[in-house]
């Protein structure tokens, strides 16, 4: 079942790629092939692969562990870029690491301590020692 769905999505993606390739207009002919042929062939491979998968699906063992933990890490990762510039590397990274540490079964207090520690260590290592500027935030540390 999973394979059929994956196959369908791949075939649609392939068709989309081919359709997109045909809309490309080249102002002048630099070479006889142009930018269209390669995406068209690739789209063809994708359609072919998708169809084979739809017609002859195999068993897929979709094993999920405690996926809410992965989701928590993901949400924290998506918020992280939004906070990075406004509140600075140390605060944003500490929050990211705090959520991630909780997801990895830490208790709140040790998680908070290790998160702040990790953020400070990386800031000192990257910004101060290796001279790679990281966002400093309002505190301007």
């Amino acid at each position: 079942m999973v394979d059929r769905l994956v196959g369908l999505i791949c075939a649609l993606l392939g068709a989309g790629a081919i359709w997109h390739a045909q809309t490309l207009h080249v102002p002048f002919a630099a070479d006889p092939v142009g930018p269209r042929v390669f995406p068209t062939i690739t789209g063809g491979v994708l359609i072919l692969g998708g169809c084979i998968l739809m017609l002859r699906p195999g068993p897929v063992a979709m094993e999920f562990g405690t996926w809410p933990r992965a989701l928590a890490v993901l949400v924290a990762s998506l918020i992280y870029p939004l906070l990075l510039l406004p509140i600075g590397f140390i605060a944003a990274t500490a929050m990211l690491c705090f959520v991630a540490a909780l997801a990895f079964h830490a208790r709140p207090l040790p998680a908070a301590v290790s998160a702040v520690g990790t953020a400070i260590v990386f800031f000192v290592l990257l910004d101060k020692m290796l001279d790679l500027p990281l966002p400093r935030g309002p505190l301007g540390i």
């Binding site: 394979d3 997109h20 102002p27 070479d31 692969g49 993901l74 690491c97 500027p133």
Partner: protein
């Protein structure tokens, strides 16, 4: 140039203080990262890749660091396999078979020692083979035309499909997805925008570092968060230490494994995981008297030696042909390209300091690793005691910090996470990531050669099959595509089809 003379100039590069320090940092970090459960060579290289660029290291220095990480992690990986019974990556499954029983019987220290020696023998012999094979191989490659290159790359993809444990068609889907992702951005030949959907950020294409970090760091952490890897750390043990006689006893096994590992490493598409599996199986067939799987030293030495020989071997086609043989060497090829260096036959004549400096550094790195891994192995084993909730959040933070440092853009972090989610879904539905990575790196080269060939023939497709070399390569590719239809490759079931 004579290989000895060239190697000497290489040592002049590798022995500068900066490069020595970087080689040491690379192998030490590689051992440490490789020792962590769930984190393998490709993750190690991906993690440090953005920092290399952000620090603006010279190309040879960056590559010495990345290569050190790569073969260093091959040494480190055995630690968690032996002490925890958890292989860090598919190439290490075989190490657990005889390594863990040895650790349980109290001979953990001896097991770590023999596998360290095996890694050294495999790694160093493979570097020696590489020193003498690389230049002849580049001569062969110099005669390659664009059509031959197209056929060679298709053959690489085909071999990946053959060797994968899952359905071969999923490998082809992964290759196509990788090629499409690589096409995003401005077409080099005509300046036309492809797959940008009007987005300014996508004009420059998908950044290589974001892709690697997304595929091999973010997705990995999501997987690890979902199902905790747990295990009880065996003590290194108080049992008898490794004796000299035991080392001698293992030497024939190591030499056989070196040859097999190096050969399989050089072949495109097959990497360390296949090599160690085949070396173990072969050694079991040759010398098993009912002791394999219960803690036979040779059963541990063979896969460890083959693993490291294959890692080094897979760098040969990457350097000499510009076609990587495994996922990790594909990341390194991407690193070359970010420095605007094209690996391949011309690398050895045009940028000898890069090619030979790298090779020379691998002699030094393997020696450093022997010293690091025999007396100091206990230190690395301690890393297994660091709680997961400190380790993995830290890896995630370092990944994002690296991407930010190289791009200076928060938007790039969102793309990285997006690729991480994509990779997570692909892994769940059984589409392998290594072929996707390989295709992404090779896409530009493949399309350029394809278009160059067709402009030579003014658009006629028959040119793709016009030289003897290309015909042979196409035939091999057809055999490789057809083979899984006839017969499934017989490998140990635990080896997932990811050529490390």
């Amino acid at each position: 140039m004579d290989a000895f003379a060239a190697l000497l100039t290489g040592f002049q590069v590798a022995l500068t203080p900066l490069n020595l320090a970087v080689a040491f940092a690379g192998v030490a970090l590689g051992t440490a990262i490789g020792a962590l459960p769930g984190i393998g060579p490709i993750n190690a290289v991906a993690l440090l890749l953005p920092l290399c660029f952000a620090l603006k290291l010279p190309p040879e220095t960056a590559l010495i660091l990345l290569a050190g990480l790569y073969y260093g992690s091959g040494y480190g990986g055995r630690i968690s396999s032996i002490l925890l019974n958890i292989p860090g990556d598919p190439g290490l499954v075989m190490t657990t078979l005889d390594g863990y029983p040895l650790a349980k019987s109290g001979r953990g220290a001896a097991a770590l020692a023999i596998s360290g020696i095996g890694s050294f023998v495999g790694g160093t012999s493979a570097v020696i083979l590489m020193t003498f094979l690389a230049v002849p191989l580049t001569r062969l490659a110099l005669s390659f035309g664009p059509a031959d290159y197209v056929a060679l790359m298709v053959l690489s993809f085909a071999l990946l499909g053959t060797m994968s444990e899952g359905k071969a068609v999923k490998t082809w889907i992964a290759v196509a997805l990788g090629l499409l992702l690589a096409m995003v951005g401005i077409d080099g030949g005509t300046g036309v925008e492809r797959f940008t959907f009007g987005s300014l950020e996508l004009l420059g294409g998908i950044d290589f570092t974001s892709l690697t970090i997304g595929l091999f760091a973010v997705a990995e952490i999501l997987f690890l968060a979902e199902g905790m890897i747990s295990g009880v750390v065996s003590r290194t043990g108080s049992g008898a230490r490794l004796t000299f006689r035991e080392i001698i006893y293992c030497i024939p096994a190591m030499l056989r494994a070196t040859g097999l590992g190096f050969f399989l490493g050089v072949l495109p598409g097959t990497g360390a995981s296949v090599a160690s599996a085949m070396a173990y199986t072969a050694e079991k067939r040759i010398s098993d008297k009912g002791t394999f799987g219960k803690g036979d030293m040779r059963g541990l030495a063979a896969p460890e030696t083959a693993d490291n020989a294959a890692q080094t071997g897979s760098m040969v086609p990457m350097l000499a042909l510009g076609i990587p043989g495994s996922g990790t060497t594909a990341v390194m090829l991407g690193a070359f390209m970010m420095y605007s260096i094209t690996p391949g036959p011309l690398l050895f004549t045009q940028r000898p300091e890069v090619a030979w400096g790298l090779i020379a550094s691998m002699y030094i790195g393997n020696l450093m690793l022997l010293v690091l891994n025999l007396p100091l192995v206990g230190l690395f084993a301690r890393l297994l005691l660091v709680p997961a909730w400190i380790l993995y959040p830290g890896i995630l933070a370092l990944s994002y910090a690296g991407v930010y440092a190289v791009s200076n853009s928060a938007f790039e972090l969102i793309i990285t996470t997006g690729i991480g989610v994509l990779a997570y879904i692909l892994r769940k539905v059984g589409i392998p990531l290594i072929p996707l990575m390989l295709a992404f790196v090779l896409a530009r080269l493949l399309e350029d050669n394809f278009r160059r060939a067709l402009s030579l023939s003014d658009g006629g497709y028959e040119i793709l099959f016009s030289t003897p070399t290309s015909i042979v390569l196409w035939l091999l590719a057809i055999v490789a595509i057809g083979l899984p239809l006839i017969r499934k490759p017989k490998l140990h079931p635990a080896v997932i089809g990811e050529a490390g």
